[in-house]
Symmetry: C2
Subunit: 295 residues, 2 copies
Amino acid sequence: MLRAIQILGSSPSSSGCFSLPHKLKKPHSNFSLISRKPIEATVPNLSRAHSLAFQFRQGCFFRAFQMSYHHSESTLDGGSPSSSSSTSIAIQSAGSTRKINFCQWCGGPTKHEIPDGEEKARAICTHCGKITYENPKMVVGCLIEHENKILLCKRKIQPSYGLWTLPAGYMEIGESAAEGAIRETWEEANAEVEVQSPFAQLDIPLIGQTYIIFLAKLKRPHFSPGPESLECRLFALEDIPFDSLAFSSMLVTLKLYFEDKKVGRPKFHYGIINKRPGTSPSEIHAYTLDHHLKC
Amino acid sequence: MLRAIQILGSSPSSSGCFSLPHKLKKPHSNFSLISRKPIEATVPNLSRAHSLAFQFRQGCFFRAFQMSYHHSESTLDGGSPSSSSSTSIAIQSAGSTRKINFCQWCGGPTKHEIPDGEEKARAICTHCGKITYENPKMVVGCLIEHENKILLCKRKIQPSYGLWTLPAGYMEIGESAAEGAIRETWEEANAEVEVQSPFAQLDIPLIGQTYIIFLAKLKRPHFSPGPESLECRLFALEDIPFDSLAFSSMLVTLKLYFEDKKVGRPKFHYGIINKRPGTSPSEIHAYTLDHHLKC
């Protein structure tokens, strides 16, 4: 189940070999630029801009890939209480707009200070002293190839109701990324798959999410909509509904796959998706793919 | 800072193309096999067993890689309160031995039930209804190549004080995996690096951790021990201290790199590290690497 959503974005950064200047050593230092009201963000009518650049270094391709695109506005809605809750956690963690107030183990109130030996403020329990750490979450999914087509699911839940996605969702404690991707495919498309190879890792730092996508095959040619899908369908490459996809991460994944297939077999991709500042979650084309490594 | 530790393990599973039977669709159903006292686990004197098998499918290598090894016992110690706390979270989440008792937002007591539309029990606040989700954490690090040598750090903190590791630690909210790996390298080795390419994703389901390791280069040939390191040193491949490494994840990473370098340039690896049941965290050789995908 994909409760993940993608909101707003930080400024695009440079591409190529990837290193940080000293001033960026503290990853949260630039968060004052983030809107405090991401959900209600309005839609600037951005003009389309699209540039590509390739470099080859150290046996891997490095690529700068920038795109923005005007798109219709929609209101973010987590749907059920559970999905809403989970969604809120991601937003608040990334933007630090709301803090953890209580210790989840003893219930004591927390203080927000930098612990000894660390560099970042944490939620420290004033009763038991335990620290609640917040870390990025992994969203795992499958890009399923079958007879030169790709399996997509039309979402039956918010956000992005009625839009197309790869089967994907949050990785659970106790499973591997591949197991999670297989489980999500079963839940969303009633399809049994074999994972064939890793295809992409796409970080979205602003919302504290990392997408891990595997190439997979159907074990048998059966699939049908799960409870969170309106429809599941195989699409030929030229028919992929790029204008009706649910998330930027899915758009990036499918574009990378499409481009790989044009020149040969799929590679493994690493990249960072930075959404354009001031855009809404539904503007899935308003992003830059930075520090793209292909090998 | 690497507060991560690796404990115990589930049963080794089969290798090859990776799919789940229906009975494994719920990833937590087999956790009753896990010891309730992982920290105090004793050390069976396992005999060394080492087998390799290769298959080639769909353009990727699939490999079964099994090894166990007797090793000295040590007691797990999280060191500072903060690291101990973080460590405990990981252990308890994976084994479900202790539950989240309070809502971190409103402080209300939680109930542990399966929410509507989900399949797994969650901590649901009895006051505000919010759900606290627990998800695996990412540990990010760099495998730094310099003049055909590899940079390792000798740990100045527990666990695994005095043992060697790649610079690595928990990925933070607000940064990408590559940024996190660069930050950790700066913190632990005072070294500025450029990330060159992704090298490995290694899941450790039992403790809810995923290691993301990048190949990197020194921007300048300067490094020195950070506050958590006793020493930083460049090792030629043949001098890597395989018997004095801090974690199974580092052993696997360095073995994969070593083997790649023998036959050409490094590839990208995905795999699942399953520790042998009944072994202690310090038994870094007591694991199986399952579902290894190399591409």
